[in-house]
Symmetry: C2
Subunit: 154 residues, 2 copies
DNA sequence: CTATAACCTCAACCTGACTTTAAGTCAAGG
DNA sequence: CCTTGACTTAAAGTCAGGTTGAGGTTATAG
């Protein structure tokens, strides 16, 4: 194996994603790889960080398409630096703030609604369509499973 | 039309959901309807509240399966009262609290990570797998679109 | 009585993020 | 050389939460 190049199995193990996911990311233009003589994928070490970025971005709620856009804004001419990555992830902050605010609003509405006992289509804010921030997306929701205790700030 | 019974179009209009969604909910056992002589659906008025409940529960992040479970705990012998509905939705509060806490933790980790500049697979909490509360689910995410301003508590 | 709007069923399709399967190839140890 | 595990491709499958379409029926206004 050429120096400093990783097989798909190594990247999968180290980054904690499935082989199939790496191939899928490649097909979606999120990562890339050179090939060995026999046609096997060989990843640059920086791919590890790229994949890690993808995973964190997903936690924040970005779609793969948005992540692709973010990754495309990285410099192509050189391996991205810490500063490049920090710039990208700093952009997530307002997004998280907004997600939190949406949930807090919902919680508050729920509290006042249970308090007043209305729960009616006409009068109740909860039933008010128009807050299109409603959906948390389709698909399986493991949102609340296995949430880690706070265990003290970093 | 028999008194106090609603057609699917009326329910769809008043509850703000598509006809197809109502049929789908019925197929999933979330709502039910009697039939007219010609086989058209006739909904009891309480179906409006039931559908409203489904929509709010979805905002909170419950799957249709969970919602079906919650609805199944309602009394079958009588039309549910405000108190019945309030009891169900009160159970959402801790769930929302937890969702908010998860996002706040993520935001805090992000902040410290940008501050320290690490963003590395080994050292960075952000890249730490094990917080399985990661996913917000697959599918389209309109989480942040059209978030309503707070406009004063109810 | 007729036009037409509203309704019916059933099957197929959609999105997103992957995983699974089938059938075959490559790499490394013994 | 042979075996075994890691790898290759392409296509199909999965899940949730519906939507869309075809082909046909019912309800109601005029």
């Amino acid at each position: 194996m050429p120096p400093d190049l990783l097989s798909i199995g190594e990247v999968a193990d180290r980054a904690g994603v499935a082989h199939s996911a790496l191939r899928f990311y490649e097909s979606e233009g999120l990562i890339s790889a050179s090939r060995s003589g026999g046609g096997q994928r060989r990843y640059h070490r920086s791919t590890l960080r790229r994949v890690a970025f993808i995973k964190v971005a997903q936690r924040v709620g970005l779609s793969l398409e948005e992540i692709r856009g973010a990754l495309a804004s990285l410099p192509q001419s050189r391996t991205p630096t810490k500063i490049d990555w920090a710039r990208l992830s700093a952009a997530w902050r307002p997004r998280l703030d907004e997600q939190i605010a949406v949930l807090q609003r919902l919680r508050d509405e729920l509290a006042s609604c249970i308090g007043c006992g209305c729960l009616s289509l006409g009068a109740c804010k909860l039933y008010n369509p128009g807050d299109a921030a409603a959906s948390l997306g389709t698909g399986p929701r493991y949102l609340l499973s296995d949430a880690r205790p706070v265990e003290g700030g970093q």
